[in-house]
């Protein structure tokens, strides 16, 4: 629809002039208001604090509630303790943890929580998270590390750690019949950026061959806009725009909701958009 539809043609060149001036005043893609920038280490620290608070809300029955993959809440916290222990091994140079399974390697830590007072599990997790924070305090966040089959910069690992802790916090909240939580905007901003940057990898994992140029718009605090090329086909790429809630998209990437649950606003090739969203769920760790 143009201005002429209103019976008043716009002067020639005005559209280009106005859009150019706007994009000079604020770059495309940047959210407004933008949350304060924080480091990945700070994001992990904040997420760990939020998780610790949630654990403090649980009563005895809630600690024993079934949560995930046959684990009760206490066992799931044990799984996270095991992940932190593997991260410690990674950061202190243990090469074996590079190829360790995310689930199998952490199962002993989950198992050993059985029968313990929940307060001890909570305290053990706090110590494990604090030790991670201590280990990365002076580390080069650009340095490459390898753990659980991933080789990636330390900063990205910390964002993924924050992501997993938040996701499991919500698994626990669901098991304990508590309302869900969302990361605060600065942390969420790092999570959405990470998820967007990993979308091409997700497409490869999902064997998405069709080339798609995705204009991804994630709304709400911590959101933003990204233009991402996915798929490996030599054919002409399709253009799709996907608009979704930032927290919802992170839940999708964590394989906690489906694209239908996400209820995105899509323009362009609907089938390819659906395929891209389905591919995003492969970012979830096993």
């Amino acid at each position: 629809m143009t201005g002429e539809a209103h019976g008043q043609a716009l002067p020639a060149g005005l559209r280009e002039r106005v859009l150019s001036a706007s994009l000079r005043a604020r770059a495309a893609g940047r959210p407004e208001p933008a949350p304060p920038e924080i480091s990945p280490a700070e994001a992990f620290s904040r997420t760990a604090d939020a998780f610790h608070v949630t654990l403090g809300l649980l009563n005895g029955g809630q600690w024993a509630a079934p949560a995930l993959r046959g684990l009760d809440v206490q066992g799931l916290v044990g799984h996270l303790i095991g992940v932190e222990e593997d991260v410690h091994r990674c950061l202190t140079g243990d090469p074996e943890v590079a190829v360790a399974s995310h689930v199998a390697s952490t199962q002993p830590a989950a198992n050993r929580q059985a029968g313990r007072p929940p307060a001890l599990t909570r305290a053990e997790w706090r110590r494990a998270a604090d030790h991670t924070i201590d280990l990365v305090r002076t580390a080069d966040l650009r340095a490459e590390v390898a753990v659980h089959g991933m080789r990636l910069p330390l900063g990205l690992l910390l964002i993924i750690r924050a992501f997993e802790v938040w996701v499991h916090e919500n698994d626990i909240r669901e098991a304990a019949a508590l309302p869900p939580s969302a990361p605060e905007a600065s942390t969420l901003s790092l999570m959405t950026s990470a998820a967007a940057s990993l979308l091409p990898l997700a497409a490869i994992r999902a064997d998405l061959n069709d080339s798609v140029r995705v204009h991804l718009v994630l709304t709400g605090p911590g959101g933003g806009t990204w233009d991402i090329a996915v798929g490996q086909s030599m054919s002409a790429p399709a253009d799709v725009t996907i608009v979704a809630d930032a927290v919802g998209f992170c839940r999708l990437a964590a394989n906690r909701v489906t694209a239908a649950d996400l209820d995105p606003y899509v323009t362009g090739d609907q089938d390819r958009a659906a395929a891209v969203l389905a591919a995003a769920t492969t970012l979830a760790l096993d």
């Binding site: 005043a25 959210p31 998405l208 608009v243 995105p264 492969t282």
Partner: protein, 206 residues
Amino acid sequence: MSSERAAPCPPAGRPVSVRAVEDSDALLAARLAAGDEFALAEVFDRFAADVYRAALVVLRNDAAAQDIVQEVFVELWRHPDRYDPALGTFPAYLIVIARRRAVDVVRSEVRRLVRQDLSCRTAAAESSPSPSEEVIAAHVADSVRAAVRLLPDGQRRIVELAYFGGLTYKEAAEVAGIPEGTAKSRVRLALAKLEEILDASLLESS
């Protein structure tokens, strides 16, 4: 990006259903806040003509109205959170901003003309106005003359003598048979009243 899931999702790579939701002002606002330049273009294509027309009604000058359109959309893009969909529609919000900006331009022009007249009624202007400024000035002058007719008699008389008669305050005071201080005081009151009348008439006309 995290792991295990009790309720399984569709296998990766298998298309899942995507429900496209209806477009809305709230969605457009959220997209603008997220930095979606496509949303900015959409908003422009849908509402720029209304914004342009609103500015043109007040300013009666194409170039000045275009400047207002640019200001309105740049402001929207820089501060999308200032629009609250709960308080009104997008076009209504944009048109209100356009009118305010246009009225500000006219008000500023009124002040410029008055200042110029007060400081040096018989001297040439400090700088030559641009063609668009001349058009606005002519429009403003018409509006000012109409507004002067609405002033109380005492104020109108002194304004007519001082402004349209080209007299100094001292001369105007002598013709009106009042002290010079009273003449100046009446002019100040008249100018304040004129601004009120002009604001009201400009908003009404827009």
